[in-house]
Symmetry: C2
Subunit: 311 residues, 2 copies
Protein backbone atom coordinates (compact mmCIF):
# COMPACT_ATOMS: atom_id res chain seq x y z
CA UNK A 1 0.00 0.00 0.00
CA UNK A 2 1.22 3.51 -0.63
CA UNK A 3 0.22 7.13 -1.03
CA UNK A 4 0.83 9.06 -4.22
CA UNK A 5 0.83 12.84 -4.11
CA UNK A 6 0.97 15.06 -7.18
CA UNK A 7 1.83 18.68 -6.62
CA UNK A 8 4.46 21.34 -6.39
CA UNK A 9 7.98 20.94 -5.13
CA UNK A 10 9.23 24.45 -4.69
CA UNK A 11 11.68 26.96 -3.41
CA UNK A 12 9.95 29.55 -1.26
CA UNK A 13 11.01 32.99 -0.11
CA UNK A 14 8.99 33.83 2.97
CA UNK A 15 8.87 36.84 5.25
CA UNK A 16 6.85 36.79 8.46
CA UNK A 17 6.91 39.18 11.45
CA UNK A 18 9.29 36.70 13.09
CA UNK A 19 11.95 36.40 10.42
CA UNK A 20 12.52 35.44 6.84
CA UNK A 21 14.04 32.87 4.54
CA UNK A 22 15.32 33.86 1.12
CA UNK A 23 15.17 30.38 -0.37
CA UNK A 24 13.91 27.30 1.40
CA UNK A 25 12.43 23.99 0.38
CA UNK A 26 8.66 24.17 0.04
CA UNK A 27 5.76 23.18 -2.16
CA UNK A 28 2.53 21.35 -1.50
CA UNK A 29 3.86 17.88 -2.35
CA UNK A 30 6.88 18.41 -0.13
CA UNK A 31 4.87 19.38 2.95
CA UNK A 32 2.34 16.64 2.24
CA UNK A 33 5.05 13.97 1.98
CA UNK A 34 6.79 15.00 5.18
CA UNK A 35 3.53 14.53 7.06
CA UNK A 36 2.12 11.55 5.16
CA UNK A 37 5.32 9.56 5.55
CA UNK A 38 4.56 9.10 9.25
CA UNK A 39 1.77 6.75 8.17
CA UNK A 40 2.74 4.99 4.98
CA UNK A 41 5.11 5.00 2.04
CA UNK A 42 4.63 8.17 0.03
CA UNK A 43 5.52 8.66 -3.65
CA UNK A 44 5.96 12.23 -4.78
CA UNK A 45 5.08 13.20 -8.35
CA UNK A 46 6.21 16.61 -9.57
CA UNK A 47 8.93 18.42 -11.50
CA UNK A 48 12.09 20.12 -10.24
CA UNK A 49 14.83 22.00 -12.06
CA UNK A 50 18.55 21.38 -12.30
CA UNK A 51 18.89 23.77 -9.35
CA UNK A 52 17.20 21.32 -6.97
CA UNK A 53 19.85 20.23 -4.49
CA UNK A 54 20.78 16.79 -3.20
CA UNK A 55 20.22 18.11 0.31
CA UNK A 56 16.62 18.92 -0.55
CA UNK A 57 16.16 15.54 -2.20
CA UNK A 58 17.30 14.07 1.12
CA UNK A 59 14.63 16.07 2.98
CA UNK A 60 11.98 14.90 0.52
CA UNK A 61 13.07 11.31 1.24
CA UNK A 62 12.51 11.69 5.01
CA UNK A 63 10.87 8.57 6.45
CA UNK A 64 11.35 6.66 3.21
CA UNK A 65 9.41 8.85 0.79
CA UNK A 66 10.11 7.66 -2.75
CA UNK A 67 11.18 10.28 -5.26
CA UNK A 68 11.40 8.07 -8.39
CA UNK A 69 8.52 10.09 -9.84
CA UNK A 70 10.16 13.44 -9.25
CA UNK A 71 11.01 14.57 -12.76
CA UNK A 72 14.29 16.46 -12.93
CA UNK A 73 14.53 18.92 -15.83
CA UNK A 74 18.25 19.67 -15.86
CA UNK A 75 18.08 22.93 -17.78
CA UNK A 76 14.94 24.12 -15.97
CA UNK A 77 14.47 25.97 -12.71
CA UNK A 78 12.40 24.73 -9.75
CA UNK A 79 9.03 26.42 -9.08
CA UNK A 80 9.55 29.55 -7.00
CA UNK A 81 7.13 31.39 -4.72
CA UNK A 82 7.69 34.47 -2.60
CA UNK A 83 5.26 35.80 -0.04
CA UNK A 84 4.97 38.00 2.99
CA UNK A 85 2.63 37.58 5.96
CA UNK A 86 0.90 40.33 7.92
CA UNK A 87 1.09 41.07 11.64
CA UNK A 88 -1.20 38.33 12.89
CA UNK A 89 -0.27 35.89 10.06
CA UNK A 90 -3.87 35.77 8.85
CA UNK A 91 -3.18 37.74 5.70
CA UNK A 92 -0.48 37.11 3.15
CA UNK A 93 0.66 38.76 -0.03
CA UNK A 94 2.21 36.86 -2.90
CA UNK A 95 5.25 38.85 -4.03
CA UNK A 96 6.42 36.56 -6.82
CA UNK A 97 5.42 33.34 -8.55
CA UNK A 98 7.76 31.74 -11.09
CA UNK A 99 6.19 28.59 -12.54
CA UNK A 100 9.47 27.56 -14.21
CA UNK A 101 9.49 23.76 -14.74
CA UNK A 102 5.81 23.67 -13.75
CA UNK A 103 4.80 25.62 -16.83
CA UNK A 104 5.03 22.64 -19.16
CA UNK A 105 4.61 19.88 -16.58
CA UNK A 106 2.85 16.77 -17.84
CA UNK A 107 2.59 14.13 -15.12
CA UNK A 108 3.79 10.68 -16.17
CA UNK A 109 3.32 8.34 -13.27
CA UNK A 110 5.40 5.17 -12.82
CA UNK A 111 3.56 1.89 -12.36
CA UNK A 112 4.08 1.85 -8.58
CA UNK A 113 2.75 5.43 -8.36
CA UNK A 114 -0.32 4.45 -10.42
CA UNK A 115 -0.90 1.49 -8.09
CA UNK A 116 -1.32 3.70 -5.03
CA UNK A 117 -3.89 2.95 -2.39
CA UNK A 118 -4.47 6.64 -1.61
CA UNK A 119 -4.09 9.47 -4.12
CA UNK A 120 -3.80 13.12 -3.18
CA UNK A 121 -4.14 15.72 -5.90
CA UNK A 122 -2.51 18.79 -4.40
CA UNK A 123 -3.30 22.24 -5.73
CA UNK A 124 -2.39 22.13 -9.43
CA UNK A 125 -4.25 22.86 -12.68
CA UNK A 126 -7.46 20.77 -12.71
CA UNK A 127 -6.68 19.27 -16.15
CA UNK A 128 -3.47 17.84 -14.68
CA UNK A 129 -5.43 16.46 -11.73
CA UNK A 130 -7.78 14.75 -14.21
CA UNK A 131 -4.84 13.38 -16.16
CA UNK A 132 -3.36 11.86 -12.99
CA UNK A 133 -6.71 10.36 -12.00
CA UNK A 134 -6.89 8.74 -15.43
CA UNK A 135 -3.41 7.27 -15.06
CA UNK A 136 -4.08 5.69 -11.66
CA UNK A 137 -5.49 2.19 -11.32
CA UNK A 138 -8.47 3.00 -9.13
CA UNK A 139 -7.06 4.10 -5.80
CA UNK A 140 -9.11 3.11 -2.75
CA UNK A 141 -9.41 6.77 -1.69
CA UNK A 142 -8.76 10.02 -3.52
CA UNK A 143 -8.76 13.61 -2.35
CA UNK A 144 -7.99 16.99 -3.85
CA UNK A 145 -6.98 20.49 -2.94
CA UNK A 146 -7.41 23.50 -5.21
CA UNK A 147 -7.36 27.30 -5.07
CA UNK A 148 -9.31 30.43 -6.01
CA UNK A 149 -7.31 30.81 -9.27
CA UNK A 150 -8.68 27.53 -10.68
CA UNK A 151 -12.22 28.34 -9.55
CA UNK A 152 -11.84 31.64 -11.43
CA UNK A 153 -10.29 30.40 -14.67
CA UNK A 154 -10.90 26.63 -14.86
CA UNK A 155 -14.08 25.99 -12.92
CA UNK A 156 -15.55 23.48 -15.39
CA UNK A 157 -12.43 21.32 -15.28
CA UNK A 158 -12.28 21.58 -11.52
CA UNK A 159 -15.90 20.44 -11.21
CA UNK A 160 -15.01 17.37 -13.30
CA UNK A 161 -12.26 16.43 -10.84
CA UNK A 162 -14.52 17.13 -7.86
CA UNK A 163 -17.07 14.70 -9.29
CA UNK A 164 -14.46 11.92 -9.37
CA UNK A 165 -12.77 12.16 -5.96
CA UNK A 166 -13.83 10.93 -2.54
CA UNK A 167 -12.85 13.96 -0.51
CA UNK A 168 -12.30 17.69 -0.97
CA UNK A 169 -9.77 19.49 1.21
CA UNK A 170 -10.46 23.18 0.66
CA UNK A 171 -10.49 26.30 2.74
CA UNK A 172 -13.74 28.04 3.67
CA UNK A 173 -13.34 30.78 1.07
CA UNK A 174 -12.80 28.22 -1.70
CA UNK A 175 -15.83 26.21 -0.58
CA UNK A 176 -17.96 29.36 -0.66
CA UNK A 177 -16.55 30.50 -4.01
CA UNK A 178 -16.92 27.13 -5.72
CA UNK A 179 -20.60 26.89 -4.80
CA UNK A 180 -21.45 30.58 -4.57
CA UNK A 181 -23.08 29.87 -1.21
CA UNK A 182 -22.38 31.97 1.89
CA UNK A 183 -22.88 29.18 4.44
CA UNK A 184 -19.95 26.76 4.51
CA UNK A 185 -22.19 23.99 5.88
CA UNK A 186 -24.75 24.48 3.12
CA UNK A 187 -22.01 24.81 0.51
CA UNK A 188 -20.33 21.62 1.69
CA UNK A 189 -23.61 19.72 1.49
CA UNK A 190 -23.98 20.90 -2.07
CA UNK A 191 -20.45 19.70 -2.88
CA UNK A 192 -21.35 16.27 -1.45
CA UNK A 193 -24.19 16.12 -3.97
CA UNK A 194 -21.62 16.48 -6.78
CA UNK A 195 -19.95 13.16 -5.93
CA UNK A 196 -17.50 13.28 -3.01
CA UNK A 197 -18.42 11.57 0.24
CA UNK A 198 -16.55 14.05 2.43
CA UNK A 199 -15.68 17.74 2.50
CA UNK A 200 -12.90 18.89 4.80
CA UNK A 201 -12.98 22.63 5.38
CA UNK A 202 -9.61 24.10 6.32
CA UNK A 203 -10.07 27.08 8.62
CA UNK A 204 -6.54 28.25 9.32
CA UNK A 205 -6.04 29.32 12.93
CA UNK A 206 -9.53 27.97 13.72
CA UNK A 207 -8.77 24.41 12.69
CA UNK A 208 -10.85 22.28 10.38
CA UNK A 209 -14.35 20.92 9.92
CA UNK A 210 -15.65 17.75 8.30
CA UNK A 211 -18.97 17.47 6.54
CA UNK A 212 -20.24 14.10 5.34
CA UNK A 213 -23.66 12.55 4.86
CA UNK A 214 -23.16 11.10 8.34
CA UNK A 215 -22.75 14.44 10.04
CA UNK A 216 -20.52 17.30 11.08
CA UNK A 217 -17.26 17.37 13.01
CA UNK A 218 -14.96 20.23 13.88
CA UNK A 219 -11.60 20.43 15.56
CA UNK A 220 -9.79 23.63 16.57
CA UNK A 221 -6.20 24.22 15.60
CA UNK A 222 -3.71 23.22 18.26
CA UNK A 223 -3.23 26.37 20.39
CA UNK A 224 0.21 27.88 19.91
CA UNK A 225 1.65 30.92 21.62
CA UNK A 226 3.92 31.54 18.67
CA UNK A 227 3.42 30.78 15.01
CA UNK A 228 6.52 31.47 12.94
CA UNK A 229 5.50 30.56 9.38
CA UNK A 230 2.09 29.23 8.28
CA UNK A 231 3.37 28.26 4.80
CA UNK A 232 2.54 24.64 4.07
CA UNK A 233 0.23 24.15 7.05
CA UNK A 234 -2.66 23.10 4.81
CA UNK A 235 -0.53 20.62 2.88
CA UNK A 236 0.93 19.19 6.08
CA UNK A 237 -2.61 18.80 7.37
CA UNK A 238 -3.63 17.02 4.16
CA UNK A 239 -0.59 14.75 4.43
CA UNK A 240 -1.62 13.70 7.92
CA UNK A 241 -5.24 13.25 6.87
CA UNK A 242 -4.51 11.17 3.76
CA UNK A 243 -1.70 9.29 5.50
CA UNK A 244 -4.06 8.28 8.28
CA UNK A 245 -6.50 6.89 5.73
CA UNK A 246 -3.66 4.98 4.04
CA UNK A 247 -2.62 3.51 7.40
CA UNK A 248 -6.07 1.90 7.73
CA UNK A 249 -6.37 -0.14 4.52
CA UNK A 250 -8.94 -2.53 5.96
CA UNK A 251 -11.30 0.10 7.34
CA UNK A 252 -14.12 1.91 5.56
CA UNK A 253 -13.24 5.59 5.13
CA UNK A 254 -16.30 6.80 6.97
CA UNK A 255 -17.06 9.87 9.07
CA UNK A 256 -15.59 8.39 12.22
CA UNK A 257 -12.30 7.41 10.61
CA UNK A 258 -12.00 10.88 9.07
CA UNK A 259 -12.47 12.55 12.47
CA UNK A 260 -9.38 10.69 13.66
CA UNK A 261 -7.56 11.50 10.43
CA UNK A 262 -8.30 15.19 10.96
CA UNK A 263 -6.87 15.02 14.47
CA UNK A 264 -3.58 13.71 13.10
CA UNK A 265 -3.55 16.28 10.30
CA UNK A 266 -4.18 19.02 12.85
CA UNK A 267 -1.39 17.84 15.13
CA UNK A 268 1.07 17.69 12.24
CA UNK A 269 0.07 21.12 10.91
CA UNK A 270 0.63 22.63 14.35
CA UNK A 271 4.27 21.55 14.26
CA UNK A 272 4.72 22.77 10.70
CA UNK A 273 3.95 26.38 11.63
CA UNK A 274 6.34 26.44 14.57
CA UNK A 275 9.33 27.03 12.31
CA UNK A 276 10.02 28.08 8.72
CA UNK A 277 9.15 25.77 5.86
CA UNK A 278 9.94 22.11 6.48
CA UNK A 279 12.36 22.78 9.34
CA UNK A 280 10.21 21.51 12.19
CA UNK A 281 8.42 18.57 10.57
CA UNK A 282 11.65 17.24 9.05
CA UNK A 283 12.90 16.42 12.56
CA UNK A 284 9.51 15.66 14.15
CA UNK A 285 9.05 12.35 15.99
CA UNK A 286 6.10 9.98 16.08
CA UNK A 287 5.77 10.47 19.83
CA UNK A 288 5.44 14.22 19.41
CA UNK A 289 2.62 13.71 16.91
CA UNK A 290 0.74 11.32 19.18
CA UNK A 291 1.17 13.67 22.12
CA UNK A 292 -0.62 16.53 20.38
CA UNK A 293 -3.39 14.24 19.12
CA UNK A 294 -4.05 13.28 22.73
CA UNK A 295 -3.84 16.91 23.83
CA UNK A 296 -6.40 17.87 21.18
CA UNK A 297 -8.82 15.21 22.43
CA UNK A 298 -8.52 16.60 25.92
CA UNK A 299 -8.80 20.24 24.82
CA UNK A 300 -12.05 19.67 22.98
CA UNK A 301 -13.98 17.46 25.35
CA UNK A 302 -16.56 18.63 27.82
CA UNK A 303 -18.98 16.65 29.93
CA UNK A 304 -22.70 16.83 29.32
CA UNK A 305 -23.92 16.68 32.90
CA UNK A 306 -27.70 16.99 32.65
CA UNK A 307 -29.01 20.31 33.91
CA UNK A 308 -32.64 21.23 34.55
CA UNK A 309 -33.15 24.55 32.80
CA UNK A 310 -35.88 27.04 33.62
CA UNK A 311 -38.50 27.00 30.93
Amino acid sequence: MSVTVVGSIAYDAVKTPFGERERMLGGAATHFALAGSFFDEVRVVGPVGGDFTDEDFAVLRTRGTITDDVEVIPDGKTFFWAGEYGWDLNSRETLDTQLNVFEHFEPKLSEPARDCDVLFLANIQPTLQLDVLDQCHGPRWTALDSMNLWIDIARDDLVKVVERVDCLVLNDAEIRQLTNRPSVVRAARELLSWGPSAVVAKQGEYGAALITDEGFFALPAYPLERVIDPTGAGDTFAGGLAGYVAAHPGDPVNHELLTRAIAYGTALASYNVEEFGTERVARLTADEVSERVNDLAQMTSFSTVPLALRD
Copy 2:
Protein backbone atom coordinates in the same frame (compact mmCIF):
# COMPACT_ATOMS: atom_id res chain seq x y z
CA MET B 1 -29.02 33.75 43.86
CA SER B 2 -29.34 35.86 40.75
CA VAL B 3 -27.53 37.32 37.78
CA THR B 4 -27.24 41.05 37.21
CA VAL B 5 -26.43 42.32 33.76
CA VAL B 6 -25.64 45.93 32.94
CA GLY B 7 -25.77 46.94 29.32
CA SER B 8 -27.75 48.26 26.44
CA ILE B 9 -31.43 47.75 25.79
CA ALA B 10 -31.93 48.92 22.26
CA TYR B 11 -33.95 49.19 19.13
CA ASP B 12 -32.04 47.80 16.17
CA ALA B 13 -32.50 48.26 12.44
CA VAL B 14 -30.81 45.33 10.74
CA LYS B 15 -30.38 44.34 7.13
CA THR B 16 -28.91 40.97 6.17
CA PRO B 17 -28.88 39.15 2.80
CA PHE B 18 -31.96 37.29 4.06
CA GLY B 19 -34.20 40.17 5.02
CA GLU B 20 -34.44 43.20 7.22
CA ARG B 21 -36.14 44.67 10.27
CA GLU B 22 -36.65 48.41 10.56
CA ARG B 23 -37.04 48.46 14.31
CA MET B 24 -36.74 45.46 16.57
CA LEU B 25 -35.88 44.85 20.20
CA GLY B 26 -32.14 44.39 20.71
CA GLY B 27 -29.24 45.40 22.90
CA ALA B 28 -26.60 43.42 24.75
CA ALA B 29 -28.52 43.22 28.04
CA THR B 30 -31.66 42.06 26.25
CA HIS B 31 -29.95 39.19 24.42
CA PHE B 32 -27.99 38.29 27.55
CA ALA B 33 -31.14 38.14 29.68
CA LEU B 34 -33.08 36.00 27.23
CA ALA B 35 -30.31 33.40 27.38
CA GLY B 36 -29.31 33.74 31.03
CA SER B 37 -32.89 33.36 32.23
CA PHE B 38 -32.80 29.68 31.27
CA PHE B 39 -30.44 29.19 34.22
CA ASP B 40 -31.31 31.65 36.95
CA GLU B 41 -33.17 34.85 37.78
CA VAL B 42 -31.72 37.72 35.78
CA ARG B 43 -31.92 41.41 36.68
CA VAL B 44 -31.42 43.84 33.84
CA VAL B 45 -29.83 47.23 34.51
CA GLY B 46 -30.02 49.82 31.77
CA PRO B 47 -31.95 52.81 30.49
CA VAL B 48 -34.81 53.00 28.00
CA GLY B 49 -36.80 55.92 26.65
CA GLY B 50 -40.48 56.73 26.75
CA ASP B 51 -40.72 55.01 23.37
CA PHE B 52 -39.98 51.58 24.88
CA THR B 53 -43.13 49.54 24.51
CA ASP B 54 -44.96 47.32 26.97
CA GLU B 55 -44.64 44.49 24.46
CA ASP B 56 -40.87 44.78 24.57
CA PHE B 57 -40.92 44.93 28.38
CA ALA B 58 -42.82 41.66 28.21
CA VAL B 59 -40.10 40.11 26.02
CA LEU B 60 -37.43 41.33 28.46
CA ARG B 61 -39.35 39.60 31.25
CA THR B 62 -39.28 36.21 29.48
CA ARG B 63 -38.59 33.40 31.98
CA GLY B 64 -38.99 35.74 34.92
CA THR B 65 -36.30 38.31 34.17
CA ILE B 66 -36.70 41.24 36.57
CA THR B 67 -36.81 44.72 35.06
CA ASP B 68 -37.04 46.77 38.27
CA ASP B 69 -33.60 48.19 37.43
CA VAL B 70 -34.57 49.25 33.92
CA GLU B 71 -34.61 53.02 34.19
CA VAL B 72 -37.34 54.61 32.08
CA ILE B 73 -36.61 58.15 30.96
CA PRO B 74 -40.04 59.28 29.76
CA ASP B 75 -38.88 62.18 27.60
CA GLY B 76 -35.88 60.27 26.25
CA LYS B 77 -35.48 57.87 23.36
CA THR B 78 -34.20 54.31 23.57
CA PHE B 79 -30.69 53.57 22.26
CA PHE B 80 -30.82 52.91 18.53
CA TRP B 81 -28.40 50.99 16.29
CA ALA B 82 -28.61 50.32 12.58
CA GLY B 83 -26.35 47.96 10.69
CA GLU B 84 -26.04 45.96 7.53
CA TYR B 85 -24.31 42.61 7.06
CA GLY B 86 -22.33 41.46 4.02
CA TRP B 87 -22.87 38.41 1.83
CA ASP B 88 -21.43 35.77 4.17
CA LEU B 89 -22.45 37.65 7.37
CA ASN B 90 -18.83 37.91 8.49
CA SER B 91 -18.61 41.64 7.84
CA ARG B 92 -20.99 44.29 9.03
CA GLU B 93 -21.27 48.02 8.65
CA THR B 94 -22.76 50.26 11.30
CA LEU B 95 -25.10 52.67 9.54
CA ASP B 96 -26.31 54.63 12.54
CA THR B 97 -25.78 54.80 16.30
CA GLN B 98 -28.01 57.04 18.44
CA LEU B 99 -26.96 56.86 22.09
CA ASN B 100 -30.11 58.71 23.21
CA VAL B 101 -30.85 57.81 26.86
CA PHE B 102 -27.47 56.08 27.07
CA GLU B 103 -25.62 59.37 26.67
CA HIS B 104 -26.15 60.44 30.28
CA PHE B 105 -26.71 57.01 31.80
CA GLU B 106 -25.51 56.62 35.38
CA PRO B 107 -26.22 53.15 36.72
CA LYS B 108 -27.99 53.12 40.07
CA LEU B 109 -28.45 49.52 41.13
CA SER B 110 -31.21 48.43 43.51
CA GLU B 111 -30.22 46.41 46.56
CA PRO B 112 -31.29 43.10 45.03
CA ALA B 113 -29.26 43.90 41.88
CA ARG B 114 -26.22 44.72 44.03
CA ASP B 115 -26.62 41.43 45.86
CA CYS B 116 -26.21 39.36 42.72
CA ASP B 117 -24.27 36.12 42.69
CA VAL B 118 -23.03 36.64 39.13
CA LEU B 119 -22.41 40.02 37.51
CA PHE B 120 -22.04 40.57 33.79
CA LEU B 121 -20.77 43.91 32.56
CA ALA B 122 -21.87 44.03 28.95
CA ASN B 123 -20.17 46.30 26.46
CA ILE B 124 -20.53 49.81 27.91
CA GLN B 125 -18.11 52.60 28.82
CA PRO B 126 -15.46 51.17 31.18
CA THR B 127 -16.02 53.91 33.80
CA LEU B 128 -19.65 52.78 34.05
CA GLN B 129 -18.48 49.17 34.40
CA LEU B 130 -16.22 50.27 37.26
CA ASP B 131 -19.07 52.18 38.87
CA VAL B 132 -21.30 49.09 38.78
CA LEU B 133 -18.53 46.90 40.20
CA ASP B 134 -18.21 49.38 43.09
CA GLN B 135 -21.95 49.28 43.78
CA CYS B 136 -22.14 45.48 43.94
CA HIS B 137 -21.58 43.59 47.19
CA GLY B 138 -18.84 41.25 45.98
CA PRO B 139 -20.46 38.93 43.47
CA ARG B 140 -19.14 35.38 43.44
CA TRP B 141 -18.22 35.67 39.75
CA THR B 142 -17.88 38.67 37.44
CA ALA B 143 -17.27 38.91 33.71
CA LEU B 144 -17.05 41.67 31.15
CA ASP B 145 -17.42 42.33 27.46
CA SER B 146 -16.01 45.39 25.70
CA MET B 147 -15.24 46.66 22.20
CA ASN B 148 -12.57 48.25 20.03
CA LEU B 149 -13.93 51.76 20.70
CA TRP B 150 -13.11 51.55 24.42
CA ILE B 151 -9.68 50.05 23.73
CA ASP B 152 -9.08 53.03 21.45
CA ILE B 153 -10.37 55.86 23.64
CA ALA B 154 -10.55 54.52 27.22
CA ARG B 155 -7.91 51.82 27.48
CA ASP B 156 -6.67 52.81 30.95
CA ASP B 157 -10.16 52.62 32.43
CA LEU B 158 -10.80 49.33 30.68
CA VAL B 159 -7.60 47.86 32.09
CA LYS B 160 -8.81 48.83 35.59
CA VAL B 161 -12.03 46.85 35.05
CA VAL B 162 -10.14 43.92 33.55
CA GLU B 163 -7.99 43.76 36.69
CA ARG B 164 -11.10 43.38 38.85
CA VAL B 165 -13.19 40.77 37.05
CA ASP B 166 -12.94 36.99 36.94
CA CYS B 167 -13.52 36.48 33.25
CA LEU B 168 -13.18 38.36 29.99
CA VAL B 169 -15.54 37.60 27.12
CA LEU B 170 -14.00 39.29 24.09
CA ASN B 171 -13.59 38.54 20.44
CA ASP B 172 -10.23 37.62 18.95
CA ALA B 173 -9.63 41.07 17.45
CA GLU B 174 -10.31 42.76 20.80
CA ILE B 175 -7.98 40.35 22.61
CA ARG B 176 -5.22 41.11 20.10
CA GLN B 177 -5.85 44.85 20.21
CA LEU B 178 -5.97 45.10 23.99
CA THR B 179 -2.60 43.37 24.37
CA ASN B 180 -1.03 44.34 21.06
CA ARG B 181 -0.10 40.68 20.59
CA PRO B 182 -0.77 38.79 17.36
CA SER B 183 -1.27 35.36 18.94
CA VAL B 184 -4.63 35.05 20.68
CA VAL B 185 -3.27 32.32 22.97
CA ARG B 186 -0.27 34.42 23.99
CA ALA B 187 -2.49 37.51 24.33
CA ALA B 188 -4.97 35.64 26.52
CA ARG B 189 -2.19 34.41 28.78
CA GLU B 190 -1.05 37.99 29.19
CA LEU B 191 -4.60 39.05 30.09
CA LEU B 192 -4.69 36.31 32.75
CA SER B 193 -1.61 37.92 34.31
CA TRP B 194 -3.60 41.16 34.74
CA GLY B 195 -6.06 39.53 37.14
CA PRO B 196 -8.84 37.48 35.53
CA SER B 197 -8.77 33.71 35.91
CA ALA B 198 -10.37 33.05 32.52
CA VAL B 199 -10.43 34.51 29.04
CA VAL B 200 -13.19 33.45 26.68
CA ALA B 201 -12.38 34.27 23.06
CA LYS B 202 -15.45 34.70 20.88
CA GLN B 203 -14.69 33.59 17.32
CA GLY B 204 -17.95 34.15 15.48
CA GLU B 205 -18.73 31.39 12.99
CA TYR B 206 -15.78 29.42 14.41
CA GLY B 207 -17.12 29.24 17.93
CA ALA B 208 -15.24 30.09 21.09
CA ALA B 209 -12.09 29.24 22.99
CA LEU B 210 -11.29 29.27 26.70
CA ILE B 211 -7.88 30.03 28.13
CA THR B 212 -7.21 29.62 31.86
CA ASP B 213 -4.16 28.73 33.93
CA GLU B 214 -5.49 25.18 33.80
CA GLY B 215 -5.41 24.93 30.03
CA PHE B 216 -7.08 25.51 26.71
CA PHE B 217 -10.51 24.51 25.41
CA ALA B 218 -12.22 25.27 22.13
CA LEU B 219 -15.67 24.55 20.80
CA PRO B 220 -16.87 25.21 17.24
CA ALA B 221 -20.07 27.07 16.59
CA TYR B 222 -23.09 24.84 16.05
CA PRO B 223 -23.17 24.18 12.28
CA LEU B 224 -26.09 25.91 10.61
CA GLU B 225 -27.06 25.80 6.97
CA ARG B 226 -28.70 29.16 7.27
CA VAL B 227 -27.86 32.11 9.49
CA ILE B 228 -30.38 34.90 9.26
CA ASP B 229 -29.08 37.57 11.64
CA PRO B 230 -25.92 37.34 13.77
CA THR B 231 -26.86 40.41 15.86
CA GLY B 232 -26.72 39.59 19.56
CA ALA B 233 -25.03 36.20 19.14
CA GLY B 234 -22.14 37.21 21.38
CA ASP B 235 -24.47 38.53 24.10
CA THR B 236 -26.66 35.43 23.91
CA PHE B 237 -23.50 33.34 24.24
CA ALA B 238 -22.44 35.38 27.29
CA GLY B 239 -25.91 34.97 28.81
CA GLY B 240 -25.63 31.20 28.52
CA LEU B 241 -22.10 31.20 29.86
CA ALA B 242 -22.80 33.41 32.88
CA GLY B 243 -26.17 31.76 33.48
CA TYR B 244 -24.52 28.36 33.63
CA VAL B 245 -22.09 29.65 36.26
CA ALA B 246 -25.00 31.08 38.26
CA ALA B 247 -26.81 27.74 38.10
CA HIS B 248 -23.89 26.10 39.91
CA PRO B 249 -23.57 28.20 43.08
CA GLY B 250 -21.82 25.46 45.04
CA ASP B 251 -19.16 24.65 42.45
CA PRO B 252 -15.80 26.30 41.94
CA VAL B 253 -15.80 28.23 38.64
CA ASN B 254 -12.84 26.34 37.25
CA HIS B 255 -11.74 25.39 33.74
CA GLU B 256 -13.93 22.32 33.61
CA LEU B 257 -17.09 24.14 34.66
CA LEU B 258 -16.41 26.86 32.10
CA THR B 259 -16.09 24.28 29.29
CA ARG B 260 -19.65 23.21 30.07
CA ALA B 261 -20.77 26.82 30.36
CA ILE B 262 -19.32 27.53 26.90
CA ALA B 263 -21.25 24.61 25.46
CA TYR B 264 -24.52 26.08 26.72
CA GLY B 265 -23.57 29.56 25.50
CA THR B 266 -22.74 28.12 22.09
CA ALA B 267 -26.03 26.23 21.86
CA LEU B 268 -28.00 29.34 22.79
CA ALA B 269 -26.11 31.57 20.36
CA SER B 270 -26.83 29.13 17.54
CA TYR B 271 -30.56 29.60 18.04
CA ASN B 272 -30.21 33.37 18.29
CA VAL B 273 -28.82 33.68 14.76
CA GLU B 274 -31.54 31.56 13.18
CA GLU B 275 -33.97 34.48 13.12
CA PHE B 276 -33.89 38.25 13.51
CA GLY B 277 -33.14 39.82 16.87
CA THR B 278 -34.77 38.10 19.83
CA GLU B 279 -37.38 36.29 17.74
CA ARG B 280 -36.00 32.76 18.05
CA VAL B 281 -34.67 32.77 21.62
CA ALA B 282 -37.85 34.37 22.97
CA ARG B 283 -39.75 31.17 22.14
CA LEU B 284 -36.89 28.71 22.67
CA THR B 285 -37.43 25.74 24.99
CA ALA B 286 -35.10 24.15 27.52
CA ASP B 287 -35.23 20.87 25.62
CA GLU B 288 -34.03 22.54 22.45
CA VAL B 289 -31.06 24.00 24.30
CA SER B 290 -30.09 20.65 25.83
CA GLU B 291 -30.43 18.95 22.47
CA ARG B 292 -27.82 21.17 20.83
CA VAL B 293 -25.47 20.87 23.80
CA ASN B 294 -25.56 17.11 23.32
CA ASP B 295 -25.13 17.48 19.57
CA LEU B 296 -22.07 19.66 20.12
CA ALA B 297 -20.49 17.05 22.37
CA GLN B 298 -20.99 14.46 19.69
CA MET B 299 -19.75 16.73 16.86
CA THR B 300 -16.47 17.47 18.59
CA SER B 301 -15.43 14.10 19.92
CA PHE B 302 -13.03 11.72 18.25
CA SER B 303 -11.44 8.57 19.56
CA THR B 304 -7.72 8.37 20.19
CA VAL B 305 -7.11 4.82 19.06
CA PRO B 306 -3.34 4.32 19.44
CA LEU B 307 -1.53 4.10 16.10
CA ALA B 308 2.07 3.07 15.56
CA LEU B 309 3.55 5.77 13.32
CA ARG B 310 6.63 5.32 11.13
CA ASP B 311 9.53 7.17 12.66
